[in-house]
């Protein structure tokens, strides 16, 4: 049974981390990161060709995380595989002992390192959530019974601060109806707005794990604001980091404050330290979550 599911069902405030599989076959850096984060996490997300750039598959890398004794959250995007391959990989996940899956649309290939690739998007994330639910119930997406069902703990992405919220909310509710049990969200910027909207999703029956991003430098903030659509760092937060004597220290303080404010308001936090695992540990410890 998924420890993440157990903890969420027991009402524990969960912590999830994230690792990216390598661009190549050397898993050592990823596993070193797993080793550093695991003592503080209920589960660790393993990204799926993150940023539409080539990496080891989340399936293989998730199994590697499991093999070192940690609990992975397999990520599955709809970008690189059609409905046959997606179902095949979800079945494979179960045979490999993987239980948690986060189902997302995926960045467009033109944003990544293979901009000439064909984006598949045969089915979208809502549809794939329904497919995963079906596999748990013992049927493939044609409704044909399968020999041995999956036991997936199914999650989806949500963006509680998205505007217009009425459209984003409706989409998130649609994902719950399709089978999403938990959400992992885009990074929190305005805790009050975030909490208000996340509460709506929790009232609809989903667990909400809030994304907390370590805004570790002015360069990272510029990158987010200029390159990543769907996430804008507000002026006040940007200035706070930019004006700090030590931006990294300030970012750790900010992330710690966010985690403290979110505790009690949502079901957990997903901390994204952008490669700085020591900062991850300091945020968790600083927020008193150890």
């Amino acid at each position: 049974m998924s420890k993440l599911a157990d903890a969420l069902n027991l009402g524990e405030f969960v912590i999830t981390g994230e690792v990216g599989p390598p661009h190549g076959t050397d898993l050592s850096a990823m596993l070193a990161s797993v080793e550093r984060l695991a003592p503080y996490c209920h589960a660790i997300n393993v990204t799926d060709n993150q940023g539409a750039t080539l990496h080891v598959s989340s399936l293989a890398a998730s199994r590697a995380v499991l093999d070192v004794g940690s609990e992975p959250i397999l990520q599955q995007t709809c970008r690189d595989r059609n409905r046959l391959a997606l179902q095949s990989d979800l079945l494979a996940a179960s045979t490999l002992g993987l239980e948690n899956v986060l189902i997302v649309t995926g960045d467009d290939p033109r944003c990544g390192d293979h901009p000439k690739a064909k984006g598949v998007f045969d089915i979208d994330s809502t549809q794939l959530l329904a497919v995963a639910s079906g596999l748990n119930d013992g049927v493939d997406m044609n409704g044909t019974p399968i020999d041995g069902s999956t036991n997936l703990f199914i999650g989806a992405a949500a963006f509680p601060e998205a505007e217009p919220w009425d459209v984003a909310r409706e989409r998130a509710l649609q994902k719950i109806a399709a089978g999403a049990v938990f959400f992992q969200t885009q990074a929190v910027m305005d805790v009050d707005v975030f909490t208000e909207h996340a509460t709506e999703l929790r009232e609809a029956g989903a667990k909400v794990i809030a994304g907390v991003l370590l805004l570790k430098s002015p360069r990272v903030i510029r990158f987010i604001n200029e390159r990543l659509a769907g996430l804008m760092v507000p002026e006040a937060i940007a200035r706070r980091i930019e004006d700090a004597v030590d931006p990294l220290e300030e970012a750790i303080v900010l992330a710690t404050e966010q985690v403290e404010s979110l505790r009690g308001a949502v079901d957990g936090v997903h901390i994204m330290p952008l490669g700085n695992d020591e900062a991850f540990v300091r945020v968790v410890e600083g927020a008193g979550l150890v």
């Binding site: 960045d107 809502t126 549809q127 997406m141 949500a158 963006f159 459209v167 984003a168 109806a177 659509a229």
Partner: protein, 221 residues
């Protein structure tokens, strides 16, 4: 209409050089490529001049009514049989459908002179946008007359994706998100928001598409 764009001139020259062609007959299209200003009379005259500058002889050129119509193109080829016979190759300034029709109509090497881009709406003269993928399974009834298959860069039936910000598209950040537009138009018209749209049936668009109305009339379909 089919929107076409000019093809890299070096590729056209390389195609001609690959068979040591020196004499060229040019074919355009009186429909789409004329409207797209890529394969009408004016563009053929320009292409002929450019070929001559590059040392080729142009034996003639023709803009038929519509290049992709097999009967019409064969008729056009018969009218120009002397000029076509005198050529080593034909270069066709039309979409790929027209190029293939010409290739089926003459017994000479035929090369594409344009790149076929998309099935486009004419927004204003010279401004074209893709609105339909000819997917064979229309969802416009569910989406307030705005096609998500085409105008969402990811082609999501259910959206928006997580990249939507301030109502804008993640991939094409200067555009309004298709799914926000759909919701807004449905609301404005007082129409209910449909539930999750099920996966698309891509078998409705298997290649190669074919339709025979005569067969239907004979009662075979």
């Amino acid at each position: 209409m089919i929107i076409t764009k000019p093809r890299d001139w070096a590729r056209i020259r390389a195609n001609l050089e690959s068979i040591s062609a020196r004499r060229v007959f040019l074919v355009g299209c009186g429909q789409c490529a004329t409207v797209a200003k890529t394969g009408g009379e004016r563009e053929l005259i320009e292409a002929a001049a450019r070929l001559e500058e590059d040392g080729y002889a142009v034996t003639g050129w023709a803009v038929g009514e519509v290049a992709c119509h097999l009967g019409g193109t064969k008729l056009e080829a018969r009218k120009r049989v002397g000029e076509i016979e005198a050529a080593d190759a034909l270069v066709v300034l039309s979409c790929g459908a027209g190029v293939q029709t010409v290739a089926d109509s003459v017994d000479k090497p035929v090369f594409p002179g344009l790149e076929s881009a998309f099935l486009g709406n004419v927004i204003r003269a010279g401004i074209f946008e893709e609105r339909c993928q000819t997917c064979g399974e229309c969802v416009l009834d569910l989406s307030a007359g705005i096609c998500p298959v085409t105008t969402c860069p990811k082609g999501l039936l259910n959206g928006p994706c997580g990249g939507m910000w301030d109502g804008k598209c993640e991939v094409l950040a200067d555009r309004e998100c298709t799914h926000v537009r759909i919701r807004r138009r449905l609301a404005k018209q007082g129409r209910p928001v449909p539930g999750a749209v099920p996966p698309k049936d891509y078998s409705a668009k298997l290649k190669p598409g074919a339709l025979d109305l005569r067969e239907k009339a004979r009662g075979h379909a």
